[in-house]
Subunit: 150 residues, 2 copies
DNA sequence: CAGGAATGAGTTGTGTGCAACTTGATTGCG
DNA sequence: CGCAATCAAGTTGCACACAACTCATTCCTG
């Protein structure tokens, strides 16, 4: 809560700056991740999908989409590329024929070892302290929640 | 700055959460902006370009790209769409024939009036206080600076 | 002053991201 | 039971975002 009055003009500038900062930060992260993931042959969204599978095991497309807030229009071609790369298999669910289960292959499981050093490099590259990272995560989470509720 | 020891595993999880939060927040903002800008016929990146032109007047493509951290591969088609929409003109610079100056048309200038209420709606939708917005802007700016320096 | 390096736009190709739609399977209500 | 509503994937179309490239112009150095 600010104890000082804030002019309308300043508010509008602040909004622009926050939105722009978010846009810029997201792309800056993307750039560094792109570099870090290049040797793994993964893009950042593909890496996010692999993280989900490494952590939770086989999951239907729908569930992955819920975790990452991505729809089938984004996930379907992405998963096809992961399948073409030999990292996952896509198999129709037996219980519900509408559903497709995504399962790691041997190569997909093994890739985890090579991916382990990535987050540490990213963490160092941000230049933030653990406290600041927690603050950032908290604020971003609240913003996302509020915006999604709109 | 943390006074408590932090395990490696927790650090890695924190990194994932921050990166994912950033990705998610950026897309959540995009979604709300998409809605707010729909009646103006602008996408969010197009809106960013218009903001630059409204604030700074005619500028070469290069300068706009520096302000928004976008390269010509992104800006060229985007500016062509703005030109097709009748909002800007593209004219070769007289001093430097390599350079293209982007200039608002009458319609582009007038659009500003209709765009004015947008940031206030966004500000309200975030649900954050002014203090929190400043903190968020500061952290994002530092992250982007650090990542760009890599 | 000449010619190669550097610069500013633009083009091409790949990969998201999302809206709108299609297809096939399941659910549930009358 | 039967059929409409719902649901999960996938497809299509459009708009970024970026790497790698081309082309024309300008700079700069020998």
């Amino acid at each position: 809560m600010s104890s000082l009055p804030v002019s309308d003009a300043e508010l509008l500038r602040l909004d622009h700056q926050v939105c722009f900062s978010l846009h810029a930060a997201s792309r800056a992260f993307g750039g560094v991740y792109r570099e870090a993931l290049k040797e793994l042959g993964l893009t950042y969204p593909q890496y996010l999908v692999m993280l989900v599978l490494w952590e939770h095991g086989p999951e239907p497309v729908k569930r992955i989409g819920e975790r990452l807030r991505l729809d089938s229009g984004t996930l379907s071609p992405l998963l096809k590329r992961l399948e073409a790369a030999g990292l996952v298999r896509r198999e129709r669910s037996a219980e519900d024929e509408r559903s497709v289960i995504i399962r790691l292959t041997g190569a997909g499981t093994e890739l985890r070892e090579r991916a382990l050093p990535v987050p540490r490099r990213m963490l160092a590259a941000t230049g933030l302290t653990v406290e600041e990272l927690r603050t950032l995560r908290g604020l971003l989470g609240r913003v996302t929640g509020a915006l999604d509720a709109t």
